[in-house]
Structure formats: structure tokens, C-alpha cells
Amino acid sequence: MTASVFFGCTFIAFGPAIALFLFTIAREPLRVIFLIAGAFFWLVSLLLSSLVWFISVQISNKESAVQQKGLLIFGVVLSVLLQETFRFAYYKLLKKANEGLLALSQEETMPISIRQLAYVSGLGFGFMSGAFSVVNILADSVGPGTVGIHGDSQHYFLSSAFMTMAIILLHMFWGVVFFDACEKQRWWAVAAVIISHLVVSCLTFQNPEYVTSLVPTYVILFLMGIWAFYTAGGSFRNLKLCLTCKDKDFLLANHRPR
């Protein structure tokens, strides 16, 4: 019967990501390529940070709990910084690639805008980090047992799934904000992304208290979402238009041939 837990957690963690992928990315080969490339970049950052982690664990004193805890915090911070570095590297690469694409294409406009790239690569980062954070939990969720024999909360699977969902969406929003900030050279926004990433990662240290890590994470997710929405060209007016179904006139007024 615990297959239901497996599917439940998978749907929670990856439901939004899958929906986004299906409706906005799957149909366009170029976007799929950039998504996978983004995921790969995240993976490389993980490889690097795990290398550092591996070496530092080897040279650390394994008996000292304080040292190990310090090492863990160091590992998290380092990993976050590496991820953001790779996001920047990916941005730079995409800029170069876009120039190339522009040169190749016969048409005047770029086949994919930098905003779309930001969104796609952010989702790629999210997919990969989500997968890595939840896959081995999902693997164990199938088994007959549930967490708790040592006194842990039995909502472990559920909260892990929700955390993963937040991480995936956050990566997407961070991608949008980050790329936009790079484009406009607003470095404070880049710093904001890095800091919020650090905060979210460090919130997981609260973890047996799932409420104290999940609630702030979702608050940050919400704020980042709004920021990303505005960055992507959304506005309150648009939202209102959209919700009050005045879009038909609007569409007619703004109709452009594709």
C-alpha cells in the first residue's frame, strides 16, 4: 500500500514541474535542449561541491560532532555558492550561444529570448536539484516502513516532497530574476538571489521541526514568485485583466501575427 505514498510524494514534488514542462517546454526542441543543458550545469556544480565535501570529510576529525556540524554548514554554503556560480556561467554561455544562434538564423529576431532562456534554465536547475534531493527518499518511501522508529516525525516523506516542490519552483524563479539581473547589471538582485538561496538551504537545518523550515521557505517562494512575475513582464494590471476575462478585447487590441 505504500506505493500510494511513493506516487503521492512524486506528484507533490514534481507535479508543478511536470505541468510546466508539458505545457511550455516539451513542444519546442530548443527549449528542451536548454533545459537539459541547465540540468547538466547544476549537476556539474554538485559534482564539484561533493568533491570538496568528500575531501574535507576525509581530513576532518570524524569523532568531533562540532567539527562535523561545522563541516555540514560549510558544505551547504559552498554548494549554494557553486550552484549560483554555475548559474552565472550558464548565463554567460547562453549569451554567447545566442549570438551564434542569431548568426545562424535567417530571421532577424532570436529564436529564443533571454527571458525564455532564464525560465527554461531555471527549471532545468530545479528539475535536477529536485531529483537529487528527493530520489532516495522516494526510493525508501516504497518500502513497507515509514519514518519514526527512532522518534522522528512520520510526516517526513510529505514534508520532503513539499520542500522539493518549493526548491524546484524557487530555482525557476531564481533563474528568471538572476538572468534578468545579469542582463540589466543590477548586482543587488543577484545578491538577493544568492542570499535567499542560502537562507532556504540553511532553513533545512531546522529540519526535524518541519513547520519552521517549510513555512519560511514557502514565504520566500511566494515573494520570489511575485518578483519573478514582475521581472518576466507581468503586472497587477495584467493579472486583473486576466482574471476579469477582459482578455478578448485586449487580445484583439494587441493582436499581432505570429
Partner: protein
Amino acid sequence: TRIFQSVNCVKLLYAFLSFAGVSCNSVEKKIYVHLNYTVSCVRLLNATHQIGCQSSLSGNVGVLHVLESEENLDWVLHSGPNPPYMVILESPLFTRSVMMKLKNGSGRVAGVAVVAPNTNPAEGFSPHTTCPNENTGVYSETYEPTMANCNMTVWNPLGNGLSYEEFDFPIFSLKDDNDTQVIRQCYLDHNRAGNGSTPQYPLCAMQLYSHMSAVTDTATCMRRNAINFSLNPEMVCDPLGDQNVWASTRPLNNTAKGHKMWESVVIAAARLDSRSFFFDIAPGAQSGVSGFVTLLAAAHALRNATQEAQPNRTILYTFFQGETFDYIGSSRMVYDMENKQFVVDLDNVHSVLEIGQVGLRADSKLWLHTDPVSRRNESVNKEVEDLIGNLRSAATGLNVTVDVPGFSQPLPPSSFQRFLRARPIPGVVLEDHQSAYTNKFYESMYDNAENLNVSYPPNLTPEEQLEYITDTAVTEVATMVARALYRQAGGEESQLSSIKADPQIVTKMLYSFLVRSNNSWFQQLVPSDFTSYLANRPPNFYVGVVQQSSEPTLLVQYLLANLTGSTINITQDNCKNQREDESDKMYNYMWVQGAAPPNSTEREGYCVRSTARLSKALSPAFDLEQYTSKNFSTWTESRWKFIKGRIFLVASHELEMLTLGVGVGVLLSSLLVTYIISSKADILFSSGREPTNATY
């Protein structure tokens, strides 16, 4: 893989592992506690039946329930709201009535774990049948109808037959230690309901794996072993069997099989094996060890006498393996003798003296059991009378009295019966019981040192325990057996007083076989490659499958070689290659590692020359491919992949369904929202200069 582990580590950082991990601890560790000590009951098969236990392929899972009394069974079988249950039994409840109720528990029982106590139950316990080896002894309907099926004497009245039942759930044994305490605590914390209320989820559950490959009977499983055209041919069962150990007082040419001219042998037999309900625990103290230790001590006592004043008959010491399972060892030896595959044949056999269970004598009495049917023959009767006379005279002056049970009483289950099946050979079986066994724990896990009253004063180190003389009763019996054998072989009466068993050797053997085999004495007597098999616990006397020699077989061979053989001065290479000079085929050579001199750590090995050899103890049924044989043992042991267990909590069905429901809800709503957003992306994200953006 190191890199992969480290990836795992970082993965775990992100896996929100709460403990701010001291090391890489995985989710699995948060969920499961594995049981360290897992001893299971396994499936055995014979010509007609399967016995033992098995789990499903993926292990049986059940909610823990510690059974407090037999009345408490109602919770498991009827009223408990969370079936199936994994029942934890305290050993007093491990009875036939409880087990049979659980067996017929209509699927509400997932498995049973029996907590083995640290002291033996006072009232006795034997999971064996009341009439051991009922159908393969000599007393068949054709031999003597009145004696068939233990009609005259029920040998093991305490036997409840549990070992011969078939259970379709796993049954494990747990030691009464920390593991068991964890299980109990888990039960108390999670599953113990208040007065009349039902326990709340999450509940503590246990999973036991003991999936058995073989099924139905030996014919079926041997056939499936032979079928190998499938994608992954897989063996499903193996015949039970091992090796018999034998030695002779006069060297016999082992390469020439069959009848030996002018040779007359007195067979001194004992059995080596035992069993219990659980395959991994078979201490067999009274049922096996008492007999073969007596015989080993007697053989040792006879070493000098037989070398100095060689009697005119040869004494053949034989230690039969697999006797518990329809006389595997003895039936094979008799079969080999009949078919000229053994070093002597049945014509060479003068008489048989078998040492049965002799460890628990009441009033220091020993009983000489004989076969009334063969004694109807005058000449056989005379030989038997002579043998009894020898035994009686051997007992004089010792603290042993021998007596004969009623003339019409048949033999107790014994290897000698297999010889009688072949022909009426004179013989006596030495036992400590007149009729029913004095052993209250026949073929059970309680037939241990405690049952034989082998105990040590507290605060002794293992080495001091080894040297401590616990028992003289077995020594007395050994002396008597040695003297009787010497007389029976035709030895001089004048020599008798010099034949004495060594109490030091006897108690060392008892210590080694009943308490721990890994001791300084055994280490000296075995070859260096065998030392890894010595353990800090008593050996397991279950015969096991035929492919590998069990630890007791080899131990007894090494002991027999050391106790009856002599040290010779040849090089290690020559010793290992069985080369001395001309007498190659007569002796067996063995390089043992010996002791280290006081000021050195290097052991000084030496070569032991003896007549101690091994012979096959595989039931002839498997050579003849008669898997439904009624004459020979057809026991096989099923193979299995693993035997293990773990405990964990299980979540309620409602929580699981809630998780699934939330998951589906999230998926559907995100599909809907994304669809709406992407279809209205033009409006939503329209303020920018770029026509399209993030979401389309």
C-alpha cells in the same frame, strides 16, 4: 563508488536530513532497525512431505504483537483490528497448541518470533516426534509387527512434533538480548492499546524474510534441480548429508574395498548430529555429544592397550552423521558395505556396540538395549550374551552399574538398527534410559550444556574453564566402554586395569563441544586452515547439506586422529601429500598446527598419523535417484536467498491515502494553472518590450 557516496552525501544535505548529520546517514536507517541475530526455521523435504517454514518472496510484514498468554491469542486470531500480526512468543508459549492455532490462523498471522530464554524450561520441551525415525529403523511391519511404530515403547513422550509441521509463515528465534529489548520497547511504545481501546497509528511492525526455493517434496525439487533449459537454471534444494568419521585400531588398507580376509571387526558406533526447530541451533548435548565424546574418550583410552597388546579383532570406531534424518550416515555405511564400497564388508563385522545418550544417568545406571527379534536366533543370542557379559565385567570396579531392560523391549532409535536391517548382527546399544528418554529436551535448542549439567564456577576465564574438571560420569562410562570393547575384541583381561579414560580429556571435549570450540586445546589439534571455523560458541550439530562438511565432522576427525594416532617426524609437505614410506595406503596423515612454545608466538606444527578417515554420509537414495524411497533417507534442504528481519513503523492507511490524494491534487491543479497561465501568457506578460517571455 567513493565519488558516488560523496554525491550521496551532498544529496543528503539537500534531502533535509534533520540530524545535521554526524556522518552520511541514509533515509533507510531512519526507517528500519535490522535484526542482528536471525535464526530461522527452514524448509526440509522428504519423499512425501515438506516441513518447516517460509515467508513470501518479499518477506512477510505484520504488526508486532507480544503474546502474553494463550488467551491473548484471540487478539491475534480474531479481535485485533490491524491484521496480519507478527507474533512475539515467550518460550513457555512455544507449544504445540499455540503454534497449531497460529498455523490455522486464517491469514491473520504474518510470522512468529520466539524469544529463546537464557535458562531451560523446567517442564521439558522436545519439538521432535514421539517415535524418532519411525519408518526407517528395523522395526517395520514385516520385521516384527508388534514392535512397529513404537508400539511397545514411546521413546520420546515429550515430543510434540512441531519440527515436523509445515508453516506457511516464517518463524524466527530471537536471543533474549538487546535486539529483543528493542522489539519489546517498540511494541510497548506504539502497539500497546489502553484498556479496550485500539492502538493508534503509526504501529510497530516487523518484516521477516525466509523465502524457500524448494516446494512439495524431494522428488519435485530434485527434478527441478535437474531441469536446466530455463532462462536462469537455479538449484532449489540439496540433499542432507555429510561425512561419517571412522578409525580402526589396526590400519586397514583403504584403497582395497570390500571383504577383508581374516579380518573381524567390532564396530563401536556413536552418532554425530542433532537438530532443533531452528536450523542454526542444534546443541545436541545429550542426544549427540554425550555419546560421541564417550566414544572418543574410550578410543583414546584404548590407544596404548591396542598398540602394546593388539587384540585379535579390530575395533572400528564410527561416528555417523545425519542419523537424525532417517539414519543417513549408518544407512550409507551399510549400503557401502553391502556393495563393496567400504573398507570392510558386513561379513567382517563381528558385533556392534553403540553408545547412545549416556550423559544423564539416574542412579549411575546404564541400560544395555538389544534387539529381541534377532536374539531369537540362538547363535546371535549367544554373541549378544557374551557382549553383555563383557560390558558387565567391564563395569565392575567402576561407579557404573549396567542393566538390561525387559527382554521383549525393542531397540531405541539407533544406528545399529540399520545394521540389523541388513542382517542379524549381534549388538548392544548403550543408553542411560530404560524405556522413555531421560532427555527432556530431545532434539531441541535446550539440549545444551545446562541439560548435561556441565557448569563452571563463576569468574573463570575461558582457559580456566577448559581445564576445569566438570564431570567424571562420562569418564566412567568411557572407561567401561573401552574395557568392554577391548574384551570384545579379544584382548587380554590382564590389560583391563590399565585402560582408563582421562577425565581431563573428557571435560576438555565437553567444554569444546558444549561451550566454545575456539579454545587453546582445539587450536593445537586442528590444521591451520580450519582455525577460522572455531567459534566462541558451541558448534551447530545440524547435519546440513551434503556439499560441505560441517564443522563437527572435521572436529571429530581431528580429535580422533590426535587421540588415537601418533606423532611422526616427517616434513610438512610429505605429511600433507600423505607420503611416508611404504605404508601410504594404511594411514591418514594430518598436519596440525600445534602449540606455541612458551617464549614464542610461532606455533610448532607436527604430523599426526592415524587411521581416522571420512566416508560418505549421503543417503543412497540420491545415488540411486530413488527420491520416493521408503528404505533410505530422502531428506533435502531447500535453498534460500537470505534470512533476515527488520522492524519499523507502518503508517495508517488514511495517511497513505491522504498523501496520494494531496499528490494527485497538486498534480491536477498545477496542470490546470499552468494551462491557464500559458494560454493567457500573452496578456499576463505583455508589458515588456519582448512579445513573449517566460511562460510562452
